[in-house]
């Protein structure tokens, strides 16, 4: 069976046809090519010719020209469109021209960096010129480090290494910084939220050091398509960036579909399991021997998927070994074997977590099946882009889970196909983030009076750091005088430096099995909690709050625990208000109260206990919506509370569509009478201390979010409300769905 016939079968067979909520076919797109630029070094042309490249795609040629013209650029390209040449060509060209320019490549992960060096070195080999391109990461041995510092034309690393190892030792990297002409930032959309806010500050530090050595590098960035590429790049680099977003790469005809599994319990809105359903869809592809990649959001799902796919392969008389798993945690050698198998075609199906999403070379497959919405539209397209051969037809399908956001996408698939609404948000001026990088910056070079580093709050931060004994002011400069190596204490990937360590005491020799960030600890590792780690149950015997240690023991019980945390919001400052919506700074308090023991299969309550832990406070930013009491005279307090909870649930679940965040980065709470507004209020707050700009964006979207939330609730297939729309109806009452809609539609007027 050809892919063509399989697609016909999907559209005609009733088992499948009804479940597709979107089916779009994009015609094949021919390549748009350009001649090699006049200015390009002849050796580079010959090397490209030797690699079988006779012409460039238009976006590659344009990138070359823009870089030559001295502009900072961000190239927006689909997966596998030859983006690496967009930066490798101008960089190699400059190196060939002489004068010893150097380049720094930053990739968000180590694996991706290593991969890029392989590709770059191939090109350099065909150049037949001595150009040093090296990866510099935690695994680089000592003597190699010296070579790289002295002779690396191109240093490939990640932001974490730049932050902890390179900048604080910049004098050893004198040659790199004196001659730094280009900085390449790939996967720019990845640098958002906390990570992006940190990176913006690392780049501020980089610029300072470059200025010290008299260099002023140009930035060449690449990004997936998001709603605000140019703005995001400009925020990260703090300067205007030219956006190149027309790809000249060819693509074959492709079909992109959204599939919503059938409803099995209409009253509760429960649908068939997405993993099982994906396998059912995929069995046709296996039968037709169509090489397919599957993406699952969690490790556990990827493993399940592999098991089911192997069973399906057996049914289709296919060697089960032709089905592989692929995820973080596999050894590099295992990964290489699978990648080679994919390229050779001996591997017919691979079930991956997002490990592959980052661009590791596996060639092109014919079909992609996404088990669950990956969380962002950018990731969705990146994963779907794994299917797409230059000439042949390809197929990509998103199979929705019962999660609220998945259901919203499944019922409103236009969000996928129209101009993306999601935006990468960062807040480089988040006080905590900024203060930690001011420390690092002063360590690298004393900060002169009047010097700028980010916003104008700098003098206050400096004064605070002097009080803390970190800085010493003398002769118009702030010197770092603390003993600690400051970069060590600052993780670019988290806002809260503190974690609770989880220690398994099952064996006589205790071992650390994981960490949990401090703010989440009361909910997950309070005493007598059942903590789940890698699918195993652990009983928390003791939580030493002061020592930040939780002692757990492996158990096998038939219940789980659910902590009740009373959340309180106190608005500290209102930044802006429009009618019934506002945003501002808030102190959010979390008071753990009790925990429930719930039976695994039935969720029936089988006991409870008290949690004895201190209240914690989070200073952050929040957005809130007011639902004036007078406009809903028909609801009593209980009814109103249920409806507010429904609103909060829907808003909370729809927000990630616009914010490119994990739902866990935003919290929500409701008040029947908020001390600040005096009215029933729903608040969404950032779980990140100080916030990274999410609340501001929520406020900007105040009306649209209410509309989307209403559409989510209305479009849900349930009768009275369900976890996919308003939350667990057992707790909210049977009228929750109708009342939630009333609040969303008629009560709050946000603009």
């Amino acid at each position: 069976m050809t892919l063509e016939q399989i697609l016909d079968a999907y559209r005609t067979r009733p088992r499948f046809a009804r479940q597709f909520t979107a089916w779009r076919t994009f015609p094949a797109k021919p390549a748009q090519v350009a001649e090699f630029p006049e200015a390009m070094d002849a050796r580079l042309r010959h090397a490209l010719a030797r690699c079988g490249i006779a012409q460039l795609y238009t976006h590659q040629a344009r990138a070359f020209a823009e870089v030559q013209a001295g502009r900072d650029i961000v190239v927006v390209t689909p997966t596998a469109s030859g983006k690496t040449l967009c930066y490798n060509l101008p960089v190699l060209d400059a190196i060939l021209r002489g004068g010893g320019p150097r380049a720094l490549y930053l990739f968000p992960t180590k694996a991706l960096g290593a991969d890029q060096v392989d590709e770059l070195q191939q090109l350099i080999r065909s150049l037949e010129v001595e150009i040093g391109a090296y990866t510099y990461d935690g695994d680089t041995p000592g003597d190699a480090r010296r070579t790289i510092r002295a002779a690396g034309h191109i240093v490939v690393t990640n932001p974490d290494m730049l932050h902890t190892a390179i900048l604080p030792h910049h004098t050893k990297w004198l040659r790199l910084f004196e001659n730094l002409r280009y900085v390449v930032l790939d996967e720019l959309h990845h640098y958002r939220g906390v990570f992006g806010s940190h990176l913006a500050n690392v780049l501020r530090r980089l610029e300072r050091i470059c200025r010290f050595y008299g260099s002023a590098p140009q930035f060449i960035c690449c990004s997936a398509t998001i709603g605000n590429t140019g703005e995001h790049a400009a925020r990260l680099l703090e300067r205007p960036v030219a956006v190149l977003d027309e790809s000249g790469a060819p693509s074959g005809e492709r079909t992109v579909a959204v599939y919503n599994p059938p409803v099995v319990n209409p009253a509760l809105g429960i649908r068939r399991d997405a993993v099982r359903e994906s396998v059912a869809v995929a069995e046709e592809l296996l039968k037709g021997r169509v090489q397919t990649i599957f993406f699952a959001r969690t490790r556990l799902r990827a493993e399940l998927l592999t098991t089911y796919l192997r069973e399906a392969a057996r049914r289709q008389h296919l060697d089960p070994e032709a089905v592989c798993g692929y995820r973080a945690g596999y050894l590099p050698s295992e990964r290489r074997t699978i990648e080679a198998g994919l390229r050779r075609g001996t591997v017919r199906a691979v079930a991956a977590t997002n490990a592959l999403e980052l661009g590791i070379d596996i060639g092109h497959l014919s079909a992609a099946v996404l088990v669950g919405y990956p969380g962002t539209i950018a990731s969705t397209w990146q994963q779907m882009g794994r299917a797409g051969r230059r000439a042949d037809r390809s197929f990509a399908v998103l199979v929705a889970t019962s999660g609220a956001l998945d259901q919203f996408i499944a019922t409103h698939p236009e969000y996928l196909f129209e101009q993306p609404v999601e935006q990468a948000r960062i807040n480089p001026d988040n006080l905590l983030v900024l203060a930690s990088h001011v420390k690092c910056a002063a360590f690298e070079l004393p900060l002169r009076d009047g010097e700028t580093f980010g916003p104008n709050t700098l003098p206050e931060i400096l004064a605070y750091l002097e009080e803390e004994g970190v800085l010493h002011h003398e002769d118009n400069a702030w010197h770092y005088v603390a003993e600690a190596y400051p970069a060590e204490g600052v993780s670019l990937r988290s806002a809260s430096p503190e974690n609770v360590v989880i220690i398994d005491t099952t064996d006589p020799r205790p071992r650390v099995i994981g960490e949990i960030d401090l703010p989440s600890a009361p909910a997950f590792v309070h005493e007598d909690a059942i903590y789940i780690h890698l699918g195993r149950q652990y009983h928390v015997d003791r939580l030493d709050w002061d020592e930040r240690k939780a002692y757990v023991r492996q158990v096998d019980v038939d219940y789980y625990t659910d902590a009740q945390i009373a959340v309180g919001v106190r608005v500290l400052e209102e930044f802006a208000r429009e009618r019934d919506a506002a945003h501002g700074e808030a102190a959010v308090t979390f008071r753990p109260t009790i925990f429930k023991k719930l039976r695994l299969a039935t969720h029936e309550n089988v006991g409870f206990g008290t949690i004895h832990l201190p209240e914690t406070t989070l200073h952050t930013t929040a957005a809130w919506w007011i639902f004036p009491r007078a406009r809903v005279p028909e609801m009593d307090t209980d009814a109103l509370e249920g409806a507010l909870l429904g609103v909060a649930h829907a808003l909370h679940n729809i927000a990630p569509l616009y914010l490119m965040t994990d739902p866990r980065d935003v919290g929500s709470t409701v008040e029947i009478r908020s001390p600040h507004t005096g009215e029933p209020t729903v608040t969404l707050f950032e779980e990140i201390p100080g916030g990274v700009g999410l609340a501001e964006r929520l406020f900007a979207l105040r009306g649209e979010l209410l509309d989307r939330a209403a559409a989510l609730v209305e479009g849900c297939g349930c009768e009275h409300g369900c976890p996919s729309c308003v939350g667990p109806v057992l707790e909210l009452g049977p009228e929750a769905k109708r009342r939630t809609l009333r609040l969303l539609r008629d009560v709050c007027v946000p603009a």
């Binding site: 030792h169 050893k172 690298e444 003398e474 190596y485």
Partner: protein, 392 residues
């Protein structure tokens, strides 16, 4: 404590830098050692006037560009006495001047001597020069005494910290010394309250470190020249390695033999024997290496894994000298030991048994090769072997 005999004179002040100078005559003693003796022991190249000893005190112990070397202690021989000069940063803004003075002092020096300076002090000073946009001084050689000190004493003393070496090797224990970890804090407090007197203990500490450095350098030089009559407790294994590196293989062999006297565990004996027989070969005496393995086989008669390994080495050495029958005998015995051990392997841990089985396999293969060689001696090779034996 030092000081008697050393007049400390402020040599210069102002501009945020204070310079202190002290002189120690050849007769000045520190514990068992005298300055003059130490310098004589060190001075083998006649370049004493171009040697500088250096030790710094810093604002942090992790390194990196944010670490200031606020006190740089130097020692040098001016022909009549050992001069200890300390450059103290009174204000951070005086650093440029401090570095200029340092560059002047180092300008004529060719040989730098430190304790842990290759990893710590010198990279920090280099970073300071770069930050001040000055060229770092350069040297023909940088001797970091931490490496020989570790070889000579770590196993004996359980540490190779300078203060321990000072007490145990030089016989000059310090009393009332400021602990190293307190130093950065004291200096940072001084920056705020400018109470200069609070820095005195650090200056004393640094002078003591420098004097200890020079005298330790003397001890190390003396010991390495004639380790067998050193008169102090030494780790003979480490000493053998150091001496061997200097090409004194016969002395190295004697050091390793002494190390063997103290090595009771098979693991230790094995490690030292490897070095010992390598020293024999380096000395151009492969026969000595063979005899040493044979001697060990004669000493260690317990039929255990160690003996099997030793017999394997005996066999290898004999085979190299074309004593095929002797080699076969050794392998056969080794194999019977291993097979016997494997039979009782119920008591062995799985990993251990697997290792043993691999050893047995290797011995069998070796035996097969030896039998092969024995049965069909290639005339050419046999002749060559006889030549070799005659020559040896």
């Amino acid at each position: 404590m030092i000081s008697p005999g050393a007049a400390i004179t402020p040599a210069a002040a102002g501009d945020g830098v204070e310079i202190l100078r002290a002189g120690f005559g050849p007769g000045h003693r520190h514990g068992r050692c005298a300055v003059g003796d130490a310098l004589r022991a060190i001075d083998d190249g006649g370049d004493l006037g171009r040697t500088v000893w250096l030790d710094t005190e810093t604002t942090g112990l992790a390194g990196g560009t944010g670490t200031y070397a606020f006190l740089i202690g130097l020692a040098y021989w001016d022909g009549g006495q050992l001069v200890v000069e300390q450059l103290l940063l009174r204000r951070l803004s005086g650093e440029r001047r401090l570095l200029t003075v340092l560059a002047e002092r180092l300008a004529g020096a060719r040989h730098l001597v430190t304790f842990n300076g290759q990893r710590f002090d010198w990279p920090i000073i280099e970073a300071r020069f770069v930050l001040a946009r000055q060229r770092p001084a350069s040297f023909d050689a940088h001797t970091d005494l931490i490496y020989p000190a570790r070889r000579l004493w770590h196993r004996v003393l359980g540490t190779h910290r300078l203060s321990t070496l000072e007490a145990e090797v030089l016989g000059a224990p310090r009393s009332r010394d400021v602990p190293g970890w307190e130093i950065p804090g004291i200096y940072v407090r001084y920056l705020r309250d400018t109470d200069r007197a609070a820095l005195d203990p650090i200056l004393v500490h640094n002078r003591a470190d420098l004097l200890a450095l020079v005298l330790l350098h003397g001890e190390v030089s003396r010991i390495l020249r004639a380790p067998l009559d050193a008169g102090v407790a030494l780790d003979w294994e480490g000493t053998g390695v150091l001496v061997g590196r200097r090409g004194a293989h016969a002395v190295a062999i004697e050091c390793f033999e002494r190390a063997m006297l103290g090595a009771c565990e098979p693991g230790d004996r094995w490690r030292v024997l490897q070095k010992l027989t390598r020293a024999h070969r380096a000395a151009g005496d492969p026969d000595g290496a063979r005899r040493r393995w044979e001697a060990e086989a004669g000493t260690w008669t317990r039929p255990d894994r160690f003996r099997a390994h030793v017999l394997e080495e005996v066999a290898k050495a004999r085979a190299r000298q074309h004593e095929i029958r002797g080699a076969r005998a050794a392998v056969t015995e080794a194999l019977s030991i291993v097979d016997g051990l494997l039979e009782e392997s119920g008591s062995l841990r799985a990993a251990r048994a697997a290792g043993m089985a691999r050893l047995a396999d290797r011995l069998r293969a070796r035996l097969a090769r030896l039998i092969e060689r024995d049965r069909e001696p290639s005339p050419g090779r046999e002749t060559a072997g006889q030549h070799a034996r005659r020559g040896a």
